[in-house]
Subunit: 283 residues, 2 copies
C-alpha cells in the first residue's frame, strides 16, 4: 500500500490519515476536499502530504470517504467508477443502508467496504483530527462478504493496527441500533440546548448556574449540522421511532410528576441506574 | 472556628469537609449520618475526625447540611433549635424555596444561610468525596440579608478560600433557573437511558455500538434517586414547565422530520450550535 486518498479531511478522515501515516511513514497521503481552506489547513498540519483532485484517485491503493452521508451516497458510484481494480474504497458514515443500496449493483461493488467507526468528538474540520482516535473503539462493518477477499484482508489489517474492535452487522440492523445509541442522543442534546437557550432570552444569566452535568448532557449539541442533517434524513424512519419512544417516556415521567406519584419517579430512576454497569468501559 | 459538623457525609458534605480541614487542620470535623456504614467509611477515609450524634451539634461553630432536600426541609428547624446563638448552619440543597420557607419564621433564622454549590459528579457516598470539588464553581446564595452579619462573613470567608464564585438570588428565581440548567438535564438523561435500555431487551448487543457521545449524554442517569426524587417533588411546578417545553421542542423536531423539512432541521441545529460559546469555561 503506497497511495492513500482521503476524501474529506475533517475530524474522521484526518484522524484516519494520521493513524495510517504513523503505521507506515512511507505511505503518501493525498487529500481531496471541496473546502479549499480545509485542504490547506490539513496540509500545513501535515495531516496530508499532498493536495489532490478527484481525477487522481485512479492511482489510489486505498480511498477513505469521510464526508456527509448524502454526499457519500451521490459520490460513491463515481468514486468506484474512477478507481482501479486493486483499489479498496472505505466509507465511514453514520448510516449504512442507503450507502450500501446505492452501490449494490455497481460493477466495482467488490472494491468497496462499508464501515462505521464509532469514534469522534463534537468538533469538526482538520484541526479536530487527533492521533489514536480509534484505539479501542468499535468499528461496525457491513456486508463484508460483498468485498473482494484480498481487499477485506487489507482493510482488517489496517483496522487491527489502529486498535479497533470489529463488529459485523447488516446495514439495516446497523441503522436501527445506531438510531438509539447515537442519533437519538444528538437530538436529545440539541433540543435540551434549544430549550435552555430559548429560556435565556427572557431570563438572563441562566448559564451562570450551569455546571458540568449540564455541559455533559448538552455536549453533542455542538455537533455540525452539515454532518447531522443528512444522517437524520437517511435514517428518518428509525430516528422517528426512537424519538417517539423517548417523547413517550418523557411524557409519562411528566404525568407521574403531575399526579404526585413520586414512588414511581423513584423507581424509574433506580431502574435506569443500571446504565452504570452498561457504560463501564465506554466513557 | 473549631468544631465543624457535617450532617450527611456524602459527595457534597464529604468534599466540603475535605476542603475545610485543609484550610485549617486544627478544625475538628464531626460526621453525622443515619447511614452507619457511610459514617465508618468517612472515618476510615479521614474525611471526618469523629462520628457524632444529632444532640452534639450545640457545640458546633459550623453545621453543613448536605442530605436529600426533603430531609433538610424536615430536619432544618430542629437543627436550628439545637445549635448555639453563634453557630452558622449552611445547607447545600438543589432547591431553595421550600427550604427557606420552612425556617422563615424560626427564631434562629439568622443562624442559617441557604446555598447551592453548583458542583458534583454522578457518584454518591463518602467515597465520591474529592478535594477541590468546588474550586472555580458557582455557589448560589439565597436571602443573605436574613443571615446574621457576622455569620454571613464567616460563610463568605470559607467559600472564598474554597475558590467559589458567589451569585446572589432569591429562592424562587433560583428554583426556576436551576430547573432548566440542572433538573431538566437529569430527566433528559434518565429518560434517554430508559429508552435505550428498554430497546436492548429485544435488541441485544445494542450497547456494543455506544460511543463516548452517548456516554456523555446519558451520564447523569447514574445519579442517585434518593437525592433526585425529593428535588423533583420540591421543584415540581418549575420542572414540569421545563419538561413541557422540552417535549414540545422534541415533538416539533419530529414533525419536521416527518414532513421532510430538513432545511428547518438544519437551522434548528445550527441555531443551537451557539451553545459552544455558552459552555466555554463550564466544561
Amino acid at each position: 500500500m503506497k497511495n492513500v486518498y482521503i476524501i474529506g479531511v475533517g475530524l474522521i478522515g484526518g484522524s484516519i490519515a494520521i493513524d495510517v501515516k504513523k503505521l507506515n511513514p512511507e505511505i503518501m497521503i493525498y487529500g481531496i476536499d471541496k473546502n479549499e481552506s480545509h485542504l490547506n489547513e490539513a496540509l500545513s498540519l501535515k495531516i496530508i502530504d499532498h493536495k489532490a483532485n478527484f481525477e487522481d484517485i485512479e492511482k489510489a491503493d486505498l480511498v477513505i470517504v469521510s464526508i456527509p452521508v448524502d454526499t457519500t451516497e451521490s459520490l460513491l458510484p463515481h468514486i468506484l467508477d474512477n478507481v482501479s481494480d486493486e483499489t479498496l474504497v472505505i466509507d465511514s458514515g453514520s448510516t449504512k443502508a442507503s450507502i450500501c443500496k446505492v452501490v449494490e449493483n455497481h460493477p466495482k461493488r467488490r472494491n468497496f467496504l462499508a464501515t462505521h467507526p464509532i469514534a469522534g468528538t463534537e468538533f469538526s474540520g482538520p484541526k479536530a483530527a487527533i492521533e489514536g482516535l480509534f484505539k479501542n473503539k468499535t468499528n461496525i462493518i457491513c456486508e463484508i462478504e460483498k468485498t473482494a477477499f484480498k481487499l477485506q484482508e487489507r482493510a482488517l489489517t489496517i483496522f487491527k493496527i489502529m486498535g479497533m474492535n470489529l463488529r459485523y452487522m447488516n446495514p439495516e440492523a446497523h441503522d436501527k441500533h445506531i438510531a438509539y445509541v447515537s442519533h437519538l442522543s444528538h437530538i436529545s442534546a440539541f433540543m435540551l440546548g434549544k430549550t435552555v437557550i430559548e429560556k435565556e432570552k427572557n431570563e438572563r444569566d441562566i448559564f451562570d448556574l450551569a455546571g458540568s452535568g449540564f455541559a455533559s448532557t448538552v455536549r453533542l449539541a455542538k455537533s455540525s449540522p452539515y454532518m447531522w442533517t443528512p444522517i437524520f434524513k437517511q435514517n428518518k424512519t428509525n430516528v422517528i421511532e426512537t424519538l417517539d419512544e423517548y417523547i413517550n417516556n418523557l411524557t409519562k415521567f411528566k404525568e407521574l410528576m403531575e399526579t404526585d406519584n413520586f414512588e414511581s419517579i423513584f423507581n424509574e430512576m433506580e431502574n435506569t441506574n443500571h446504565i452504570k454497569e452498561i457504560l463501564n468501559g465506554i466513557d
